[in-house]
């Protein structure tokens, strides 16, 4: 199991509140975002400039852009198979990658274009029984 502290833990607002950074040069919402050192500037994923930004809460709803169902997992995830991972296109156009939940991990059930919404869930147990939380996506109720 990885011993690394993830970047998520350093930008905890983005992890727990799905907060991105809107580039004030070109308007692109960066999620996640790359800060220049510990300054108040980011390197924009779109224009590439060293830009000022403002925090931007992402849409909590969107549709599945693409997905996979993992049947053979890397070490540390073997007990979780099968599981579905999706790239979700949020209603504000930002794409995020996340686990799907509350749905059978089966391509007969999950479809590209399916409406989903973000829910806050347990992601996994890390070392020493510590639990990591974050966002997953579940199908929208009809």
């Amino acid at each position: 199991m990885s011993e690394y502290i993830t970047a998520l833990e350093r930008e905890i607002d983005s992890k727990f509140r799905l907060t991105g950074a809107e580039c004030l040069e070109c308007g692109t919402i960066n999620y996640p975002f790359v800060r220049v050192g510990s300054s108040e500037k980011i390197v924009c994923r779109s224009c590439g400039k060293r830009s000022d930004f403002k925090p931007k809460k992402l849409s909590r709803r969107g549709k599945i852009y693409s997905f996979i169902v993992v049947k053979v997992a890397p070490m540390g995830f073997e007990n979780e198979v099968p599981y579905a991972i999706a790239v979700v296109e949020l209603d504000d156009g930002v794409r995020v990658i996340a686990r799907l939940t509350d749905v059978t991990p089966n391509p007969e059930v999950i479809k590209v274009g399916m409406r989903v919404r973000a829910v806050f869930r347990k992601l996994r147990e890390i070392k020493n029984g510590e639990i990591e939380y974050g966002f997953k996506f579940k199908p929208e109720e009809e």
């Binding site: 990885s2 690394y4 993830t6 970047a7 998520l8 999620y31 996640p32 994923r45 852009y65 693409s66 997905f67 996979i68 169902v69 993992v70 049947k71 053979v72 997992a73 890397p74 070490m75 540390g76 995830f77 073997e78 979780e80 599981y83 991972i85 790239v87 930002v94 794409r95 995020v96 990658i97 996340a98 686990r99 391509p107 590209v112 274009g113 992601l123 996994r124 990591e132 974050g134």
Partner: protein
Amino acid sequence: MRKVYIIGIGMTPFGEIFDKDVDNLVSEAFFKALDDANLEQKDIEAVWAGTMLFHKSVPGPLVARATGLVGKPVSRMENACAAGTDIVRNAFFAVGGGYYDIVAVVGFEKMRDVTTTEMGFKMAIRSPLYEQHLGMTGPGNFAMFATRHMHEYGTTSEQLAMVAVKNHKNGAKNPNAQFRREITIEQVLNGPIISWPLHLLDCCAITDGAVSLVLASEDVARKYTDTLIEIAGVGLGTDYSLHAEKKTLTEFAAVKYAANQAYRMAKVEPKDIDVAETHDCFTISEIIEIEDLGFTEKGNGGKFTEEGETEIGGKIPVNTSGGLKACGHPIGATGTRQIHDMTEQLRGEAGERQVDGAEIALTQTLGAQVNISGVCILKRA
């Protein structure tokens, strides 16, 4: 820039090589290349070594020892699956720029000493930090593209399987391939799912192996051989690591960047390429690559494959060696292996797999989170 030529090639057979360690593999490939070039060790001025995973010691000195070149400069390059292309690119700059006359490259990987789940983990921890907790996998990285490509263009699992069938058919005739047997579409489709929509036989294997090349400047090269193969163009492209940041999941942006650099440098177009080795780590990879390299239009990769245009005898034979699918994929060695195999094609030494009259060849790797790609264009001089 001076012209740069490949004057020697050598490789170990690829496979599960339990009885040899890294230094044995490196030395075997290197001395084969040296013999092929009719050179002596003292002629080699510098070496570039490509490996992604090797961590037991510093690869530079290990390669120096295994090649008998202790004291000479050996630079290790790591660029995931593009490492084996990138060492050639950098050696090309050193010779082309006029600093050295004769250099060697060696790409290698020893992957079969750990279990598949451990190897999967080694790959998974290289995921960008924002994907580590997801349980993303190597096959998963490419499966994410497959789902979207199928959705937008109607590419089918059968068309994916046809890539595997074609490459195994070629690999069956390659003495260096890990899997020298043919397979059927049914075997691919009836196999277990690894990451939906990819089946077991949509995926390449975990492999040991090493490949070496000798590069030389023109005046030197002419002293040693009459069959000169020119490195006419090289390119290296990058893309976003996160799948959510990539512009689309239907094209490999890194491949397009790398290919555009190489095409421009070599002053050729996709239609000029006679034979190509592309990075079929997964069947979907080859389908998207033949689009992004310009061999067919975007979205048509599945149909182009189904019509047999990438078979030997088709419009543009792809992976005549058997590709990663049949040869196996020792990560740091693969890009160098592709150039080894295309050099054979341009020399007319590819035996049963020979593409008649091949004069211009292209090789292409693509690695990690589908975010790094190397391209090399070779010409028969």
